[in-house]
């Protein structure tokens, strides 16, 4: 790779590493796995950088690579046996009012825990639409499917998420 390309890739990687890791975390629910996914995606992006750089939007391509990497990872047998449920945060958020901390933590974890019970592709659609704020068309590009599929997956995903929230609030352990 030429020096200029390498510099451009370095700038892109440094600028997007944090946001890619956040998205990966919402996909997989674990910061360590999210870090691995982010690194693996950027590595793949490096291999394809000479093709990526001419595209209009390398960020969209990076998201697509991240999503594929995560879906591939999920299909691996050693990942299938790993079931996670209701992870507690390692440290409290000091920026919030201590009196409402437990309530806020519960609300935060509720959404995240419920999200992990939504099927992977529906979860990806929800994260890309409501966290990344992508349009239906952009999500369709990232997912490699039609806009109609994105809309239907969004509706099903929201339904699954609401059902999981209700069950968690009722204290029922949800099987993922």
């Amino acid at each position: 790779m030429r020096k200029a390309d390498e510099r451009a890739f370095r700038d892109f990687a440094v600028g997007h590493a944090a946001s890619l890791r956040r998205t990966a975390f919402l996909f997989c629910g674990d910061w360590h796995t999210a870090e691995d996914l982010m690194q693996a995606s950027l590595l793949k992006l490096y291999q394809a950088w000479h093709r990526v750089e001419w595209r209009d939007n390398p960020s969209a391509y990076a998201r697509k690579v991240l999503l594929r990497t995560w879906l591939d990872e999920k299909r691996r047998p050693w990942r299938r046996v790993e079931q996670r449920d209701g992870e507690l945060p390692e440290r409290a958020d000091s920026s919030v009012d201590p009196e409402t901390t437990s309530e806020r933590l519960w609300a935060r974890d509720l959404v995240h825990a419920a999200l992990l019970h939504v099927p992977p592709r529906q979860r990806a659609v929800l994260v890309l639409r409501y966290f990344e704020d992508l349009s239906v068309a952009d999500v369709a590009v990232a997912m490699g499917c039609t806009e109609g599929t994105v809309k239907s997956q969004t509706a099903r995903g929201l339904g699954a998420l609401r059902a999981a929230v209700e069950r968690l609030e009722a204290g029922v352990v949800v099987a993922s």
Binding site: M1, F9, R10, L26, Y46, V111, V127, Y130, L158
Partner: protein
């Protein structure tokens, strides 16, 4: 749960983000190592394929030694098969293995010797020039010789590959231009045609090729690369041999399959 609550929930979920310890240089280094490994793997695959072709074809040539005269008649001498035939200063490494007929050995030896000598004249600024030529045979038909001229310049090692083919194995002009971007064909004074093409592959790899479609039906194709075609290594900004140098080799009458 409304869509607004979902947005808030997702943003809240990443609020406890641990500090990011991201080293872009380390990642780039890993990428470079992975790329080198992949290129080395491809080179090993190509070398294995060439070796397998030689191993399969040479016993057949040995059995049908009488049929290879057409390939070697123009280059066979009594001295060529002996150890004293090496030219001064030329590090020639014939690739034909033991057991091959002496006529074939002499033919490929001669081509390798000549290619080294001619390449040194055309590209004087390189060192460690050596060549390997081998006979390939498909479906019991002769008329296909491949060779590599290795060299080292100030940027490292590289090489040019040479393919000599004759009917019925000769490469056609359509086949030559099928996988590369060909420039307009140039007709030569003797009625032969010269094609020149550039092919860009993945990872900025460039191959420049000149092919001389001769009036006797044989084709001499010479390819230059902006990397080492046998060992991979770093990709250069440009191909180390010029178009004129490739054309001079392709049109050289001494680089031929013989009479």
């Amino acid at each position: 749960m409304s869509e607004a609550e979902l947005r808030d929930g997702l943003r809240a979920a990443v609020r406890d983000e641990p500090p990011l310890d991201f080293d872009a240089d380390a990642l780039i280094q890993r990428g470079q190592v992975a790329r080198k490994r992949r290129r080395a793997l491809v080179a090993v695959g190509v070398a294995t394929a060439v070796l397998t072709g030689s191993v399969v074809s040479l016993p057949l040539l040995s059995r049908d030694a009488g049929q290879v005269d057409a390939l070697t008649a123009g280059v066979l001498t009594t001295e060529a098969a002996g150890p004293s035939s090496a030219t001064t200063g030329s590090a020639v490494t014939p690739s034909v293995t033991a057991g091959a007929p002496s006529a074939v050995l002499a033919g490929t030896d001669h081509l390798a010797e000549y290619a080294v000598k001619r390449f040194r004249q055309l590209v004087p600024q390189v060192s460690d020039v050596r060549a390997e030529f081998s006979v390939n045979k498909a479906k019991d038909v002769e008329g296909y010789v491949t060779g590599v001229v290795y060299f080292v310049d100030r940027e490292g090692s590289s090489g040019v590959t040479v393919v000599l083919s004759g009917p019925p194995l000769a490469v056609t002009r359509d086949q030559f231009c099928d996988s590369a971007k060909c420039e307009p064909s140039r007709q030569q004074p003797d009625g032969s045609h010269l094609e020149f093409a550039t092919a860009g592959g993945r990872s900025n790899m460039i191959t420049r090729s000149a092919a001389h479609f001769r009036t006797d039906g044989t084709v001499v194709q010479v390819n230059g690369y902006n990397y080492d075609p046998m060992q991979g290594g770093k990709i250069r900004d440009a191909v180390p041999v010029t178009a004129d140098q490739l054309v001079s080799l392709a049109t050289d009458p001494n680089l031929s399959l013989g009479e």
